[in-house]
């Protein structure tokens, strides 16, 4: 039980609560991927759930500090950013390696005709 108030909370601002009915669990396939990667990595002991919760909380606080409206709709973007940082911190996927791969997928996506599967050109 708690009565403590996180320091980042602006007590003057009590914004409206978003509402949602029992809609789809994930808003887009990538949200499901980000979720599943996290759960799977935790399952194999890549990090503890406490470490994960701390990483996610840090992203949420940072987003709030940047003044981004946090109505829950960008939740999985923060989730993915937290996962990227945690796997980098754990030296599983260095940040530089990820950025390079993002660029490769981006280039592959742009050069692929609509309706064709996107594939990376593997360098020999």
């Amino acid at each position: 039980m708690t009565t403590s108030i996180p320091p980042e909370v602006d007590l003057r601002a009590l914004p409206a609560l978003p509402r949602d009915d029992a809609g789809p669990v994930f808003g887009a396939p990538w949200e499901a991927q980000a979720f599943a990667m996290t759960v799977s990595l935790h399952g194999r002991g890549a990090f503890t759930w406490r470490e994960w919760a701390d990483a996610l909380a840090a992203e949420l606080v940072a987003a709030s500090a940047r003044g981004e409206p946090d109505d829950g709709s960008h939740y999985y973007e923060h989730w993915l950013a937290a996962l990227e940082k945690l796997v980098a911190a754990k030296k599983l996927v260095p940040g530089q390696e990820l950025e390079q791969r993002v660029d490769e997928w981006d280039a592959a996506a742009r050069s692929t005709a609509h309706g064709k599967p996107i594939e990376l050109q593997r360098r020999g």
Binding site: P18, R50, D70
Partner: protein
């Protein structure tokens, strides 16, 4: 919808991968290559959380507790074990505590830091549970939140707010509504909502009360 886009717009619109989708794909491809995740396991996980776990699990727990005093006692004493009797075990349900609502006490669950939530019994959390307004306001102004989400709580009813953690998850046992005497367990489970088990609303029999 217009039939015509300028080329620039059409191009952006048609880009099959961009933003977080692109980053998620890139990360996944690296993790798979390194043997850190198995694509099949990822698909299974997604299927589980999209179709197999959800608040219907929690509703069955609550309905059983309403009709079976011995189960209710076990549930309040050792929630993790009592919930496991239904086979609802697994991630983010390892250490469960059930909070009993009474005519004098209403319990409300929040995760102020992120979105800790009892997945095996409630599935994944709704958008509002993950939102900054709820995470902040549930603690600062629980009565206001309850008024907005599930109806006003009388002054003489105590509101207790419980902050979930990475280690400890809560499930609210709502009060059994009046007018449900003689109902079967299955019928009762039908009226137990997700919001009632988070604690922001009450279970209500059809036709009972207005929100």
């Amino acid at each position: 919808m217009s039939d015509h886009h300028d080329d620039e717009h059409a191009r952006e619109h048609d880009l099959p991968l961009s933003g977080p989708a692109l980053r998620a794909k890139a990360l996944e491809s690296l993790l798979v290559e390194k043997g850190l995740v198995d694509p099949k396991a990822l698909d299974e996980l997604i299927d589980t959380y999209e179709t197999k776990v959800g608040p219907r699990n929690g509703a069955r727990i609550v309905a059983r507790a309403w009709v079976d005093p011995a189960y209710r006692k076990r549930l309040l004493e050792n929630a993790t074990a009592a919930i496991a009797e239904f086979g609802f075990i697994g991630r983010q349900g390892e250490d469960m505590v059930v909070l009993e609502n009474t005519p004098k006490v209403r319990n409300v669950v929040v995760c102020t830091l992120c979105s800790c939530y009892p997945w095996p019994v409630l599935g994944l959390p709704p958008v509002w549970y993950k939102s900054a307004p709820y995470r902040a306001r549930a603690v600062i102004d629980p009565r206001g939140v309850l008024k907005e989400l599930g109806g006003e709580v009388p002054e003489n009813v105590e509101v207790r707010v419980w902050d979930s953690t990475a280690e400890l998850r809560y499930l609210v046992l709502p009060e059994r509504p009046e007018g449900t005497e003689g109902w079967s367990e299955d019928e009762l489970a039908e009226i137990v909502t997700r919001d009632a088990m988070i604690g922001v609303a009450q279970a209500k029999a059809p036709g009972q009360g207005k929100r």
